[in-house]
């Protein structure tokens, strides 16, 4: 059921809660009265001032994150009203989530696909891509059979170089708008990242 048009709209969209002036989406402060705003529905890209794109410079993500984090830090609101303290907290939480999602290439790809209506994971759905699964199984077996830390390192080195290659084709597919191939690559990266993560635990169990 759609509620739009049924419920009376009390305020214009993105009107500042304090002075009523319009506030652009993803803007943490009212341009008119400088009050901190609720985080709202902005996506992670616009929150950090980026277009929806896979190719992002990690240094730039970091810079924008720290700039905003400084302005939104709860310490700066310690003497403000409870409402402003609560809003700055909410802003800081959304900002952290945006930062963590965009900094990790895999999470960024999953998120970008989700914004286009494509779910990569999702419970209860099974992958049946034979080439992808065969590669995953083969590397898993190699890891399980590794008997020394140098053998584990070899598997990890292979997984890392595969993951680098996938990240680079992922970028090509996203810029070409080929979301189907981008989804396949994202799945491969899920498996490779998981393997690299599990290899860390495995490394502790071998000599």
């Amino acid at each position: 059921m759609r509620l739009r048009g049924v419920l009376p709209r009390l305020t214009a969209p993105n009107a500042c809660w304090s002075c009523g002036a319009p506030v652009p989406t993803a803007e943490p402060f009212c341009p008119t009265c400088k009050s901190v705003q609720p985080p709202g529905q902005a996506d992670h890209f616009s929150r950090l001032g980026f277009a929806r794109t896979y190719d992002l410079d990690p240094k730039l993500i970091e810079r924008r994150y720290f700039e905003l984090q400084r302005k939104l830090h709860p310490d700066r609101f310690a003497t403000r009203t409870p409402k402003e303290r609560q809003l700055s907290q909410a802003q800081a939480t959304s900002l952290n989530e945006a930062y963590e999602t965009l900094m990790d290439p895999l999470r960024r790809a999953v998120y970008l696909l989700r914004l286009s209506g494509i779910e990569v994971g999702g419970d209860g759905k099974t992958v049946a891509d034979p080439a992808l699964l065969m590669e995953a199984m083969e590397m898993r077996e190699a890891l399980a059979e590794a008997r020394s830390s140098s053998e584990v390192d070899q598997v990890v080195a292979r997984a890392r170089s595969e993951a680098d290659a996938v990240r680079s084709t992922l970028s090509t597919h996203f810029s070409a708008g080929d979301l189907k191939s981008a989804r396949t690559d994202t799945l491969r990266l899920t498996y490779l990242d998981k393997l690299i993560e599990d290899a860390r635990a495995r490394r502790l169990n071998v000599a």
Binding site: V120, G121, G122, D123, G124, K125, T126, V127, A128, D129, P130, L132, L133, M134, A136, M137, R140, E141, A144, L187, T190, Y191, D193, K194, L195, D198
Partner: protein, 129 residues
């Protein structure tokens, strides 16, 4: 998260771990994965001429629930006909192992692996005849 005793039992003493000859005519192989967690599961069946599953093996790389689900699946399908094995539902596996809601997808994976192995066997039998 606490695993049920049955999950722990299958995890510590998995039944039927291993591989069958993928190329053999009487062997069907199902390979499935869970995209959300990066699990991968291989389940193989060896089928007699009259359509009975004589042997089943699995190899699963994933969490305890995924390992327990596939271990239980191989136990259940052994000695069953293909048609019987096909009717096994993930809900039965989940219920038997008392899987929590967040681990239901592991039982789905096991059901899909059984179906994929049967489909692979049937596809092979078809090309043979």
């Amino acid at each position: 998260m606490a695993y049920s005793e049955k999950v722990i039992d299958h995890y510590n003493n998995p039944r039927n771990v291993g591989s069958l000859d993928k190329g053999a005519e009487d062997v069907g192989t199902g390979l499935v994965g869970a995209p959300a967690c990066g699990d991968v599961m291989k389940l193989q069946i060896k089928v007699s001429a009259d359509g009975i599953i004589q042997d089943a093996k699995f190899k699963t790389f994933g969490c305890g629930s995924a390992i327990a689900s596939s271990s239980l699946a191989t136990e259940w399908i052994k000695g069953k006909s293909l048609n019987e094995a096909e009717t096994i539902k993930n809900t039965e596996i989940a219920q038997h192992l008392a899987l929590p809601p967040v681990k239901i997808h592991c039982s789905v994976l096991a059901e899909d692996a059984i179906k994929a192995a049967i489909a692979d066997y049937r596809a092979k039998a078809q090309t043979k005849s």
